[in-house]
Amino acid sequence: MAEPTLETVREFADSFFYGSRSNLDMKFLRDLSPTEVGDFFEGLLQHLATTLDDGDAGRLVDHVIEWQRHAYTAHLDGKAAFAYDDVPRAAMSKPLSNARVALITSSGHFVDGADPQPLGVVDMTQEEAERRVGEFLREAPTLSDIPVDTPPSHLRVRHGGYPVTAAKSDHNVNLPLDALQALQREGMIGEVHHTARSFVGATSQLRLREGVAPEWAEILRAEQVDAVLLVPV
């Protein structure tokens, strides 16, 4: 056993944010005050104690979701780096049932054999993406084309900013190809655009806003897309 280390609540909470206890589902702990960190764990353990008797883990799930929401929304205090007063808005040019609908997600998916090689690295691991997330935040994002008929076994996902475990087991949690294709069969939409796109949302916001996003919009316009479903992670 190593010598016990005296650790403050602040240090403990921060260690879940890319630190010694890195856990992207729990990285929100960094955004809580020390008192709130105490409240989170006290509530979690109370729910866990109740779960010992009835086995209903749903309350644990709800607790985590509620504190994620609280952590990211309660301390904004006008700190928003990007806030806009206007709302750019285009209207549908045809009924949805005749429309070509494209999908773009910031999930970090790509097709096997077409790795965008972020930061110039071949076959970057998820662990390296998490470790180097600060470098991602300074770079412009790359848009990966994903033909919508790609077999799920050919999909890859890597993203240093969020827990990818769920997306690895089912891409539809943030790349909802199955649902879009079902709605095409049903007739709610005219067609799913042949190419979905994904990028790593942990990226330079200024490079994205000033250069990349308008270029992507032009690509979609050239491809005569009628509407776009966007999925941030």
């Binding site: 929401r69 750019p88 949805l96 649902a179 966007l230």
Partner: protein, 91 residues
């Protein structure tokens, strides 16, 4: 924020959009002025629902796409049902 910027750029290019945001980022659509958003009460990384919950994924996409035909300047709605973890054994 990334998708907020992309959503604004696409709308500015004349193509209507809708975004599906988890509740942790539920403040982003209003803050960034995106035209249409659906907020889901799901954990980060799973805006459509739990892995394997195809029924929920379909309901979320259906709800989101329905917002495209609303004739209002900005529409931000919340998905009505709570998150439900999906166990393969209950399929």
């Amino acid at each position: 924020m990334s998708v907020g910027h992309v959503q604004r750029a696409i709308e500015s290019a004349g193509i209507p959009t809708v975004g599906v945001y988890v509740s942790a980022f539920g403040h982003v659509p209003a803050q960034m002025g995106v035209a249409r958003a659906l907020i889901t009460p799901h954990p980060m990384g799973r805006p459509m629902g739990a892995p394997g919950d195809a029924e929920r994924h379909l309901a979320v996409v259906r709800h989101a796409l329905s917002l495209l035909e609303r004739d209002t300047d900005q529409v931000i709605e919340s998905f009505p049902d709570g998150y439900r973890p999906h166990s393969p054994t209950t399929v």
